[in-house]
């Protein structure tokens, strides 16, 4: 869809052409949005903050999948497995090596990226459904490894308890400020990200960075190469793009994002085992991407938010259904959640296969063309 700009908004240089935020009102809106998000714990309930936290973590995982599936056209059913890698790695780095969460996070992301790279190797030879099968293997192998191997370290099926992320701040005038408490061991003031209202700051900050990076990838040479591989890999090769190298890069980046999301999820839950995220979650993440819109920057945000909210609706609806019809308990009610998700996915595939992002662009275009838009 053509990008429509308001009258008078034109470029005088290539640099200007690359600008993301072009208008003063857009800056104001961005700052207001950030302000609203970062002050969320002040006015929203803990339940709402917790929900936003979960949506935020899901968005990061879907952003990674968007690079791989949306931009590069490589379908993966292993994203949740790479989240598991990220979760375990960050936990082990914190518990075994004493690293701080914020140091463990990038290492966990890189580790997940490298593991993802391994599972991306089949993309050299296979594509389409065959590649789906190859990535699906990650979803079986990685949980099997965490469940079965190195039980002394990984604690088998029971998994690991994950420490709460902490930042240490200096003591100023014998006082600990900003809701921190004095930690005698480090002689510093410690701020623990223990509750959703505290953890949300990590999620939001990481999400902002991943969003900026994802958006810029899509606008860069790398992103254009991804898109060319997706649209026609033979043509891309003729243009001097090595499809295999770019597919591998996409796998690496997607897994890095999954690693970040996994580390965040594990720390948020304070526990990780081989079943924390599974095949269902990989399918769900793919569903979020389809519903949100493949190959768009805002698609993962829309998709993750909508699907997570739909899941919440199922959770709220089930006790009500059981109150009205107790005999449905355990049978039909157990199907409510997948039913709602399946229905949403089906409706989107029929009525808006380009996802919510496309619809959003139509709304924006309609607004800009008013009063001439239908």
């Amino acid at each position: 869809m053509a990008i429509m700009r308001p009258s008078g908004d034109f470029d005088r240089s290539y640099k200007q052409d690359m600008t993301v935020i072009r208008q003063r009102w857009q800056y104001i809106l961005l700052i207001m949005t950030l302000l609203a998000l970062y002050t969320l714990p002040m006015y929203a309930s803990e339940a709402t903050v917790s929900l936003i936290n979960r949506i935020g973590i899901a968005i990061i995982a879907v952003q990674g999948l968007n690079i791989l599936t949306g931009y590069t056209g490589q379908i993966s059913l292993g994203q949740a497995a790479f989240m598991t890698v990220g979760g375990y790695t960050s936990t082990l780095l914190m518990t075994r090596m004493g690293l701080n969460f914020f140091a463990a996070l990038p290492i966990a992301a890189l580790t997940a990226g490298l593991i993802g790279l391994l599972f991306g190797l089949p993309s050299l030879r296979v594509k389409g459904f065959y590649l789906v099968m190859a990535t699906l293997s990650a979803q079986f192998i990685i949980p099997w490894v965490t469940r079965t191997l190195w039980q002394d370290t990984l604690n088998g099926a029971q998994g690991l308890i994950v420490p709460v992320p902490v930042i240490n701040l200096p003591v100023i005038a014998n006082q600990c400020f900003l809701s921190t408490t004095f930690n005698a061991e480090t002689a510093q003031c410690a701020y623990r990200f223990a509750t959703p209202s505290q953890f949300i700051y990590i999620t939001l900050t990481v999400l902002i960075f991943t969003t900026i990076i994802t958006h810029n990838i899509s606008r860069s040479r790398l992103g254009r190469a991804f898109i060319s591989v997706r649209d026609n890999d033979l043509a891309a090769e003729l243009l001097g793009i090595n499809p295999f190298a770019y597919k591998l890069r996409a796998f690496f980046l997607a897994s890095v994002y999954a690693g970040i999301a996994g580390a965040l999820l594990a720390s948020n839950l304070r526990h990780i085992n081989s079943a924390t995220v599974g095949l269902n979650d990989s399918v769900l993440l793919l569903g979020m991407l389809i519903v949100g819109g493949l190959g768009t920057s805002v698609g993962p945000i829309f998709g993750a938010a909508l699907v997570t909210l739909l899941e919440e609706i199922a959770v709220v609806l089930t006790p009500l259904v059981i109150t009205v019809a107790p005999d449905l308990a355990g049978g039909a009610t157990a199907a409510l959640r997948p039913l709602i998700f399946g229905l949403a996915l089906m409706l989107f595939l029929i009525f808006e296969p380009r996802g919510m992002a496309y619809r959003w662009n139509l709304i924006k275009a309609g607004w800009r063309l008013r009063p001439f838009a239908k």
């Binding site: 970062y38 809701s179 900050t205 526990h271 308990a329 355990g330």
Partner: protein, 475 residues
């Protein structure tokens, strides 16, 4: 100017992050006075008294919550005993899976609690205070369970007790329960939740799965000649066929492996099957047969054992294996998924509570009367209803004891936890569920071995209550 904008944007983000860290800040915390000569002085001699004790060892906090030995907040005084808490409310929070894979067994648990609480209130509540229930469906998702926990704790700054039903939930929440000092009664009997690092406020409504597994092994070894399949030799060769995850793999720990080895039981194969009513177990069963297994243990429930029974029926392997499972595996919920009820006959399970067919027992009679009075469907006449009815009794007694110790106004989760660990042996619902949380135990250590010997409800005792082996995990 344009170049500065991205920098400004990042600065804004950093500022927001920094400001956000301080958002809940109220009063700055004074650094506590050092009690001994510091090796190096990070700050100057403090000039004012600490506002509060330092509370956090950040990195170790989640993993090193101290073993709770908390004393009640006040000394007991006779005048605190009161029958007159009319107008007061005590909330029982509980959350479980109504819209996910464990829904079949959660529904009776919830109705068991509802009916027991209704009866409790009809009989005067807890020292006159009315008990209310707050339930939320977590869909079997740990993620959702944590979110619900956060919601409950944000809505109530002094929750006295919570009930959870899944092993995954219990494991994920155990450090939170301990940190927030909220006692939890759970039917998710994962050893990690009760005895792992960072636990202490999680109490079991049954023996932990390793203990159950050990109890069955004891029974099988002692009675092998009587119970062994015709084709089996003198050695017990066990196949562990189960679901993946905290619950499914809950009985297979280092301790149980060592215990099995000590008893001379060889675990010849470990296989997983899908957590789904339609799971095909035939491959797992054939592998077990090929490995020479003569005993199968499954740590599953409802459609879990049913899938194995259906597989055994489909392969015509009846009589080839001794089938045993955890306590939840022996439930009416299984019958809804089994192709032929006759396939259930012969299955063993260790139960740390009585069963509905103990009709002469006053506690079972009380549960039966409650069940009938509330016109519950016979599909709910299962383990969940009975155990939760008894659990409500245990919780109510613990809270009463805590009120007697510290009074109602000062009552906190710490006091309820203290009451639970100090109430000694307690017979929930007149003995339907016997619990003793003293001496660092947070789960029952005795149980019966029962066998399905006929149609639904014929879960008969083949070995009366005996101590289970203590297979708690080494920390």
């Amino acid at each position: 100017m344009k170049q500065i904008k991205p920098v400004l944007l990042l600065l804004f983000i950093a500022l927001f992050a920094l400001a956000a860290c301080g958002s809940p800040a109220e009063e700055p915390t004074a650094v506590p006075e050092p009690t001994e000569e510091p090796t190096e002085a990070p700050v100057e001699e403090p000039t004012e008294a600490p506002v509060e004790e330092p509370t956090a060892e950040p990195e170790e906090e989640a993993t090193a919550v101290p073993e709770p030995t908390a004393e009640p907040t006040e000394e007991p005084t006779p005048e605190l005993r009161t029958e007159n808490l009319e107008g007061e409310t005590i909330i029982f929070y509980h959350f479980g899976d109504l819209s996910g894979p464990y829904a079949a067994i959660t529904s009776p648990l919830i109705h068991g609690m509802e009916d027991a609480v209704a009866e409790l209130n009809a009989n005067g509540g807890i020292r006159g205070a009315t008990v209310e229930i707050q339930f939320a469906d977590d869909g079997g998702s740990v993620d959702e369970a944590v979110a619900i926990y956060d919601r409950f704790t944000s809505e109530d700054d002094n929750p006295l007790i919570m009930f959870t039903y899944g092993s995954g939930e219990a494991e994920a929440l155990t450090s939170r329960f301990a940190e927030d000092e909220i006692p939890s009664l759970t039917s998710g009997l994962s050893a990690v939740a009760f005895y792992g690092e960072g636990s202490g406020y999680t109490f079991g409504l049954g023996s932990i799965y390793p203990d159950q597994f050990g109890a069955f092994l004891d029974y099988a070894v002692a009675n092998w000649d009587e119970i062994k399949p015709d084709s089996a030799g003198d050695e017990i060769k066990l196949a562990y066929l189960s679901w993946s995850g905290a619950f499914g793999q809950g009985a297979l720990t280092d301790e149980t492996r060592a215990y099995a080895e000590e008893l001379g039981v060889e675990i010849v194969i470990e296989e997983l099957y899908d957590l789904a009513p339609t799971a095909d177990t035939t491959t797992a069963l054939l592998n077990a047969q090929a490995a020479g297994a003569n005993v199968i243990w499954t740590n599953t429930l409802a459609f879990g054992p049913a899938a194995l029974m259906n597989g055994i029926g489909a392969l015509g392997l009846q009589g080839e294996f001794v089938l045993a499972g955890d306590n939840w595996a022996m439930d009416l919920a299984t019958y809804a998924f089994v192709s032929d009820p006759a396939l259930t006959v012969g299955m063993y399970a260790p139960l740390s509570y009585l069963w509905w067919n103990d009709v002469d027992h006053p506690g079972v009679q009380q549960a039966e009367a409650m069940f009938a009075a509330n016109e519950r469907s016979m599909t709910e006449h299962g383990v969940g209803y009975l155990v939760l009815a008894a659990a409500v009794d245990v919780a109510a007694q613990a809270i009463e004891n805590a009120i007697d110790e510290v009074g109602f106004d000062a009552l906190t989760g710490v006091d309820v936890q203290y009451a639970l660990t100090n109430m000694g042996p307690y017979e929930g619902l007149q003995g339907v569920l016997s619990l003793d949380f003293s001496d660092g135990s947070r789960s029952p250590h005795s149980g019966q071995i029962r066998q399905i010997q006929g149609g639904p409800d014929a879960f008969n005792v083949v070995q009366d209550f005996t101590d289970t082996p203590d297979l708690r995990p080494a920390k």
